[in-house]
């Protein structure tokens, strides 16, 4: 049992209210990712769970036991830091063994744990070397090794891949996911990168300005975002937002955009406000197809910008006074200034209340 329960957690740094009442439950064995923009409090939350920050108000419990007054080393957790935190004056073996030595473990057991962890991570040949002789990826593996040997019940990761270049990051991401499959331990992972969050998480906790915006499985947050912020944060390229006014004439519901263009809407509830935001992801916005369906919304626009990425091409057009990004096949051809027929299925659209940000 290594579940984590956080209730009513508040924290200030001086005058700044960094955590504004966090309530969160993380079940045993789950890979939970805390994600959000800089300053949202995710690192602070992680460090409070670790015991590196003191709890001001609220409670943290691990495996059902209250941890507020417990020292970090007594919480049976392991942590991997952004800057690896390797001791430059110790070799790789000693770095990994550091925590075990601190707990006065017998030499034979230390040796056994370190060598098996090294094997698991493929760094057995590096045990005699010193951190300065290792590459970024190797150092990260050593840091993870140090966490593994402790056989802790909870693993914490504080943006471990931020210092790596893009290619290495992809590789290490896969390794961390495999790690979780091999060692079935509760893991809490902090990142600002939404791709990391989407690929690694069993559940995502999206944070914003000290509060939890939404919690759920990655695809849940992606397909059914609770707020405008969540919709905008997840997904690359970013979701398209258009503002408009709802007009009802008879049985027809229509969204009138800023530049006069109208889009007919699917069913509206009477609780909807006058002004709403429509959101449509680029991958749902494409070339108008031959077959017409009643749910299609079609319009023609001039191409402003073409950005090829190899697998897909992104076209930018203007709608409702804003830039819209559409995703089309790379095989299609076109030039800036051409007129393009685009369409999206209105059932794929998301709607939000501009005042509260909540989904409608």
């Amino acid at each position: 049992m290594s579940d984590v329960k956080i209730s009513g957690l508040h924290k200030h740094f001086g005058a700044v209210h960094v955590l504004k009442g966090i309530d969160l439950e993380i079940p045993t064995g789950e890979f939970t990712v805390l994600v959000g923009p800089s300053g949202c409090g995710k690192s602070t939350l992680l460090r409070t769970i670790a015991g590196l920050e003191e709890v001001e108000q609220g409670e943290i419990a691990i495996s059902g036991q209250r941890m507020n007054d417990v020292r970090p080393r007594d919480r049976n957790i392991a942590m991997v830091f952004q800057n690896y935190a390797l001791y430059p004056y110790l070799n790789v073996f000693e770095n990994i063994a550091f925590g075990l030595r601190a707990r006065k473990m017998p030499e034979s057991e230390i040796k056994e744990r370190v060598t098996s962890a090294a094997e698991m991570l493929g760094i057995t040949g590096l045990l005699e070397r010193f951190p300065r002789q290792l590459s970024g990826g190797q150092r990260q593996r050593v840091a993870i090794g140090r966490a593994i040997v402790r056989k802790a019940q909870l693993f914490l990761f504080d943006e471990p891949l931020s210092n790596l270049d893009a290619q290495l990051r992809d590789e290490m991401r896969g390794e961390i996911k495999k790690l979780h499959q091999t060692i079935d331990v509760t893991m809490i992972y902090v990142t600002h990168d939404q791709i990391e969050a989407m690929t690694l998480a069993d559940r995502i906790v999206l944070m914003r300005e000290g509060r939890i915006e939404q919690v759920g499985a990655p695809l849940d947050l992606y397909e059914r975002p609770a707020t405008h912020f969540v919709a905008g944060f997840l997904g690359s390229p970013k979701i398209n937002f258009v503002h408009g006014e709802v007009l009802i004439s008879g049985s027809e519901q229509v969204l009138r955009l800023v530049d006069g263009e109208t889009i007919s809407l699917p069913a509206i509830a009477s609780t909807w406000p006058k002004n709403i935001i429509l959101g449509i992801r680029p991958q749902y916005l494409g070339l108008a197809s031959e077959s017409r369906s009643p749910d299609d919304v079609r319009f023609s626009r001039i191409i402003d910008l073409i950005q090829p990425t190899g697998s897909r091409t992104y076209i930018t057009v203007k709608l409702g006074g804003r830039d819209l990004v559409a995703e089309i096949e790379s095989t299609s051809r076109g030039n800036v200034g051409d007129v393009l027929d685009l369409s999206f299925n209105r059932l794929n659209a998301l709607f939000f209340d501009p005042a509260t940000g909540r989904a409608l």
Binding site: S7, E25, E54, Q57, V70
Partner: protein, 304 residues
């Protein structure tokens, strides 16, 4: 999904601190104790005793009011010693600063054997002021000191200058020794500071047509000012409390001609045993220095 655990007890109550919270106080405790010993205790003692009348002959611990402090004002020798100290400080400090700066510029650019030059020039700074005072006393000796010898050779006749005895000569002697020992200190610090000035700034200015003085005044001086200020503070304070060097060179003489404030206080305390009076002087000095130093430190934001 998240469940709300807003139970009254955990939301309202401030949780107690972790067991290691007092660690930070335990590790400063021994240091604080020792610092209080030399920082606070003497102050309190001096303060108390200065209001009494303890002398070599008289052990009167009754409260005597401001009698000692009043005596301070009419003490000619005290004010002279303050004057002596100020004279030394006010002359030596700028000279050391300017010479140090000039030397720094001399050695700023690449030069063959630079490291060796610098290592040797720095030697005077690390020896004891007593030793430097003694050394110059030997150098200045009227018959066997090389300085008089060289002067004799230049003048063509025997020159017997009583450097450590003639009133006219003692201050130059002290100042020469002092400047000799401490200019390297300024030099070293200013050299390091100048070396760390961003080269691109000075190069851009040169391309723009700025001459040496303009670059110095507008770019380099502002850049090294924080460091220079600290060096001036350290050196200024050290000059004000100068004792060892003068003691070795002249012993405060002739008579009391080169008596600095530290020497005077020493004499009053350990030769005359004017306990209470010395306490008053000490208290005065400390009060003065505290204000000046604290003001200077805060002004320079040293404590960050």
């Amino acid at each position: 999904m998240a469940q709300s655990f807003a139970s009254v007890s955990s939301a309202v109550r401030r949780s107690p601190q972790m067991p290691d919270h007092n660690f930070r106080y335990w590790i400063i405790a021994p240091s604080v104790f020792l610092l209080l010993l030399i920082g606070l205790f003497p102050l309190i003692y001096a303060f108390v005793v200065s209001f009494q009348q303890i002398t070599m002959t008289d052990y009167d611990t009754s409260f005597a009011g401001l009698v000692n402090y009043q005596a301070l004002f009419s003490d000619q020798r005290l004010w002279e010693s303050i004057l002596h100290t100020i004279v030394i400080t006010v002359i030596a400090l700028p000279v050391e600063l300017i010479l140090g700066l000039a030397l720094a510029y001399l050695f700023l650019e690449k030069m063959y054997g630079k490291q060796i030059f610098i290592s040797l020039i720095v030697l005077p700074t690390v020896i004891s002021p007593i030793v430097s005072g003694a050394t110059w006393r030997l150098l200045f000796d009227q018959r066997y000191g090389p300085i008089n010898q060289v002067l004799s050779w230049i003048a063509g006749r025997e020159v017997v200058m009583l450097w450590t005895i003639e009133p006219i000569l003692v201050y130059p002697a002290i100042l020469i020794c002092e400047i000799w020992q401490w200019t390297p200190f300024m030099f070293l610090i200013l050299l390091a500071a100048l070396s760390s000035v961003d080269k691109s700034l000075t190069e851009a200015a040169e391309l723009d047509g700025a001459g040496f003085w303009r670059i110095f005044l507008k770019i380099e001086l502002p850049a090294i000012w924080p460091v220079m200020a600290i060096a001036i503070l350290i050196r200024g304070v050290d000059l004000f409390r100068i004792f060892d060097m003068v003691w070795a060179l002249t012993g405060g003489g002739p008579g009391t001609y080169t008596e600095t404030i530290s020497i005077y206080t020493y004499v009053q305390g350990f030769r005359q045993f004017e306990t209470s009076y010395t306490a008053a002087i000490a208290f005065l000095i400390v009060a003065l220095m505290s204000f000046v130093v604290t003001w200077a430190i805060r002004r320079m934001g040293l404590a960050k």
